[in-house]
Symmetry: C2
Subunit: 233 residues, 2 copies
C-alpha cells in the first residue's frame, strides 16, 4: 500500500456546503435551495475567473481575494440574481453559518481511524486560513488533521497545478502516493490531471465529468477512503 | 472617438445559444430549458477547467480540446445528469443545430452600420475555426466581419489573457481602443481586466458580477454598440 497521506478537500467534502440551505430557507422562504445552489456555483466561478485572468502573476493572481470575501460576494450575487432583498442582518447570519458548516456524519469516524493507523491527514482547500481554522474548530476536527493547507499561500485557486502543489510544501511524498479525496467532480478531475491518486465521493449519485481521466476510485461517502486503503473502521 | 475596432463574442452574443432549447424540448419534452442551461454551463466549465489545469503549457493546455468537442461532451453530461437517454440521432440533431444557431434579430443591422462607417469588426470566440465558420456562414455574417478570431491558435480559453491577446495578432490597436462586446458577464469581466473597453449586452436584465470592475458600458441589446460609438443606424 503506497499511499502515505490522505488529503481532503474541505467545502463539499468534509463540510456540507448545502447544509446552509435550511437557514437560507428560513430567511427567504421558498428560496433556500435556489440560494444555496446559486451561491455555491458563483463562489466557485469567481475562484476560476480570478485564477484564469492572471495565471502567471508573480505573486499569484493580482485579482486574488480570500475565499471568505468571494463567498460573501457570491452570496450577494445570488440574492440579487433571485431578486431578493439584500439585508446586512441576513448576510451576517448566513456568513456566520458558513463559518461553522455541518460536517457529514461519517467524517469523524473515518478521520479517527486514519489517525489511529498512523496515516497523515490533511485538508487542501480554496478557503483562506482563517475560515478553515473556524470550520475545522467548530467541526471538532482540529486533532484529527496533521495539516490544514490553504491555497492562500500561492494566491491562486484549484484547479491550478500551483494550488495542488501546496501539498508538497507540507507533506513529503510522491504525488501518486497521496490520496486526494473530494466530493467535487471538478476538483477530482484537476487532482487526477495533477498526478494525485484520487477518490471521488459521489454522495449525490451524479455522473462524472465527460472530459479528462476517470478518478482512480469512487465511493458514495467518506468511508470509501477506508475501503481504498484496505482499512476497517 | 478613439475606438478603432469592435470585437464581438460569438456564442451568446451574436448567436443565441439558448435558441437550441426549442429543439431540445421537442426531443426531450419538458426538459428543453434544463438541457440548454446545463449544456451551456458545462460547456463553459470545461473550457475553464482545461485552461486552469495547465495554464503555462508551452503550446497551450495539454488538456486542450476544440470547443466543438467540449460542446458535445457537455451535451452528453447534461443528458446524463438529467437522467435522459443518450441517443446518437438526438445528439447529432442537437449538434447540427448548434452549428447553425439563430442570430439575435438586431445583429445584422448593427454590423452593417458599423461596416458602413468603416469600423473594423471581428469575432473573438472560444469556438474553433470550423464551427465559427459554419455559424458565421449560416447566419449570413461572412461579409460583415473583417476577422473571425478563435482561441484555437493559442489552445487556451477565455478569460485567459493569452486568449484575449489573440486580437492583437489581427488588429493593430491599443487595447483600450478596442470595444469588446459580450453578453456573457464573465467574458466582460475578463475583457475589462485585460484592458479592452467593454460593453456588456445584458439581454436578460441580470445583475453584473459582484467582483471585478464594472464594464465601461452596458446595454440591453446589440444596438447599444451604436450608442456607445455615437452612431445612428
Amino acid at each position: 500500500m503506497p499511499i502515505q497521506a490522505v488529503v481532503f478537500d474541505a467545502y463539499g467534502t468534509l463540510f456540507d456546503v448545502y447544509s446552509i440551505g435550511a437557514l437560507a430557507e428560513r430567511l427567504y422562504p421558498g428560496q433556500g435551495s435556489a440560494i444555496s445552489t446559486l451561491w455555491r456555483d458563483k463562489q466557485i466561478e469567481y475562484t476560476r475567473l480570478i485564477s484564469l485572468s492572471d495565471p502567471d502573476g508573480e505573486h499569484g493572481s493580482r485579482h486574488y481575494r480570500p475565499f471568505w470575501d468571494l463567498t460573501r460576494q457570491a452570496l450577494r450575487y445570488a440574492l440579487q440574481r433571485l431578486g431578493l432583498p439584500l439585508s446586512d442582518a441576513h448576510e451576517e447570519a448566513l456568513m456566520a453559518q458558513y463559518a461553522q458548516l455541518t460536517a457529514f456524519p461519517e467524517n469523524h469516524g473515518v478521520l479517527q481511524t486514519l489517525r489511529g493507523r498512523g496515516m497523515t491527514t490533511a485538508i487542501l482547500s480554496n478557503g483562506n486560513p482563517e475560515m478553515l481554522a473556524s470550520a475545522v474548530q467548530s467541526a471538532g476536527m482540529a486533532d484529527l488533521l496533521d495539516h490544514v493547507i490553504s491555497v492562500d499561500g500561492v494566491r491562486q485557486f484549484k484547479t491550478m497545478p500551483v494550488a495542488y502543489g501546496e501539498v508538497a510544501r507540507h507533506i513529503v511524498a510522491e504525488k501518486s502516493d497521496v490520496l486526494f479525496v473530494s466530493s467535487n467532480a471538478w476538483d477530482v478531475l484537476g487532482a487526477t490531471w495533477f498526478g494525485f491518486t484520487t477518490l471521488w465521493i459521489n454522495r449525490q449519485g451524479l455522473p462524472f465529468e465527460t472530459i479528462g481521466r476517470r478518478p482512480d476510485h469512487t465511493g458514495s461517502d467518506l468511508r470509501a477512503v477506508l475501503d481504498v486503503l484496505g482499512l476497517v473502521a
